[in-house]
């Protein structure tokens, strides 16, 4: 299950990055960047 969830995090993180480049409104992009922090940390098994 651990690996499955890791893949889920990876899948969603890549979508967040994609969305970050699609979105035009500045503050929405800031939101994405903030949410991404967590996904990166979990992806690299830091937190």
């Amino acid at each position: 299950m651990f690996i499955v969830y890791h893949l889920i995090v990876f899948y969603l993180a890549s979508h967040f990055i994609w969305y970050l480049f699609r979105e035009n409104e500045f503050w929405k992009r800031v939101s994405v960047a903030l949410v991404l922090i967590m996904f990166f940390l979990r992806l690299f098994l830091i937190k």
Binding site: Y5, I17, L20, F26, L36, I37, F44, I46
Partner: protein, 378 residues
């Protein structure tokens, strides 16, 4: 052109996100470092938990097991600290034992970091400090303040509903609470494996008496308590009376038989040992706690708790003096000492003799640091 500029901004934000990750990473990584412990000369051997249950080899749940005595047969005692790494007195008491005791008859096994993984992170939204320093004669020693639960990077995801090995239904995150996972499962998740390994120690080392050191928030009804399994009812009652004689008030609580998965219940049920759990009052893990600070952890002072005590909301006396960690450790030490002597009285054929165990009055008087090795000793 605008498109390029937009991409640039997005790129910068992505970099910002990565940078923030990077800067917070260091603190989170640091927490995985174990502080060195300096066992006393009485140490007979140092094992790993995985040597009792190989399923833990190379997992973050593997942890040191310190064994004292064993040359002369007698009673076998297990003392568990750090089952909940956010309860400093339990951990520090175990460390004090490791760094001082010698056992001339019987055997004492101490596991200071029972949930090793829990020491590697701290709980979200609890605003805890990473650790605390205690002053020893030769300088400061740092101790980790961890989380009650196993680190999610070691055990993830939580089930929606956790049904523990004893069949109790609990909220999902309790699957990472070592003291809800007994008797464990060899093929379960990490925390259940740790619990299983501890059961293996109890069985393989033929433990007679097992003591689990804990702390609880002052607003929790079972605090300053001896929780006991039916197996150890007599031992607990004797000990309570003895403890009162030397000035420690404890409350006696029988382990409920419908609350499954806890050490005091499953150790007794599954391994027939005398199971005891000790609780002291720790304001730094409570819901009412004020600003996170060293003084909250070490001196145990908190304005909110003094106020709550006045309103009769607490189950221990709490005034502006607080409940310092040295007092809590002293309580644990006193209880352990009395439990051992009562054990000897009740089981004369299985005596246990411990020397150099710091006395509770000395710890209360001089502080914990006096009984810890200085940080440089080899």
């Amino acid at each position: 052109m605008k498109c390029l500029k937009d991409r640039l901004i997005s790129g910068l934000l992505l970099l910002l996100s990565l940078a923030l990750c990077f800067f917070s990473t260091q603190k989170f990584r640091e927490q995985h470092k174990k502080e060195t412990l300096f066992p006393s000369e009485g140490l007979a051997s140092r094992e790993m938990l995985s040597s009792y249950f190989p399923g833990l080899i190379d997992t973050p749940g593997d942890t040191e097991v310190y064994i004292y005595g064993g040359q002369n047969p007698g009673g076998n005692i297990l003392i568990l600290g750090g089952a909940h790494p956010n309860e400093p007195a339990g951990y520090v008491t175990a460390v004090i034992l490791i760094e001082n005791i010698q056992v001339s008859q019987g055997k004492i096994i101490v596991i200071p970091r029972a949930n090793n993984s829990g020491f590697t992170h701290s709980e979200p939204q609890e605003g805890n400090l990473r650790g605390y320093s205690l002053e020893t004669p030769g300088g400061k020693r740092f101790f980790r303040f961890g989380s009650r639960l196993t680190n999610p990077i070691h055990q993830w995801p939580d089930p929606t509903l956790y049904i523990n090995p004893s069949g109790q239904k609990l909220s999902g995150q309790e699957s990472r609470n070592l003291n809800r996972c007994y008797p464990g499962k060899p093929k379960g998740h990490l925390t259940e494996k740790i619990a299983f390994a501890i059961m293996e120690i109890i069985k393989k080392e033929k433990i007679d008496l097992a003591i689990d050191l804990h702390e609880a928030a002052p607003e929790y009804p079972v605090v300053n308590a001896i929780v006991f399994h039916e197996n150890s009812a007599e031992l607990a009652s004797y000990s309570l009376m003895e403890l009162q004689q030397i000035g420690f008030e404890f409350r006696l609580e029988l382990s409920p038989n419908n609350l499954r998965g806890l050490s005091h219940r499953e150790w007794g049920d599954h391994a027939q040992v005398m199971a005891i759990l000790l609780e002291t009052a720790n304001p730094s893990q409570g819901r009412l706690k004020g600003k996170s600070s060293l003084s909250l952890i070490i001196e145990g002072k908190d304005r909110n708790y003094s106020k709550a005590a006045k309103f009769g909301l607490l189950f221990v006396p709490f005034d502006s003096e607080g409940i310092p960690v040295k007092l809590r450790v002293a309580r644990h030490l006193a209880a352990i000492k009395i439990l051992l002597s009562s054990f000897n009285e009740l089981n004369p054929e299985k005596r246990i003799e411990v020397n150099h165990m710091p006395s509770s009055s000395q710890v209360k008087l001089k502080g914990i640091g006096q009984f810890l090795c200085p940080p440089y000793r080899k």
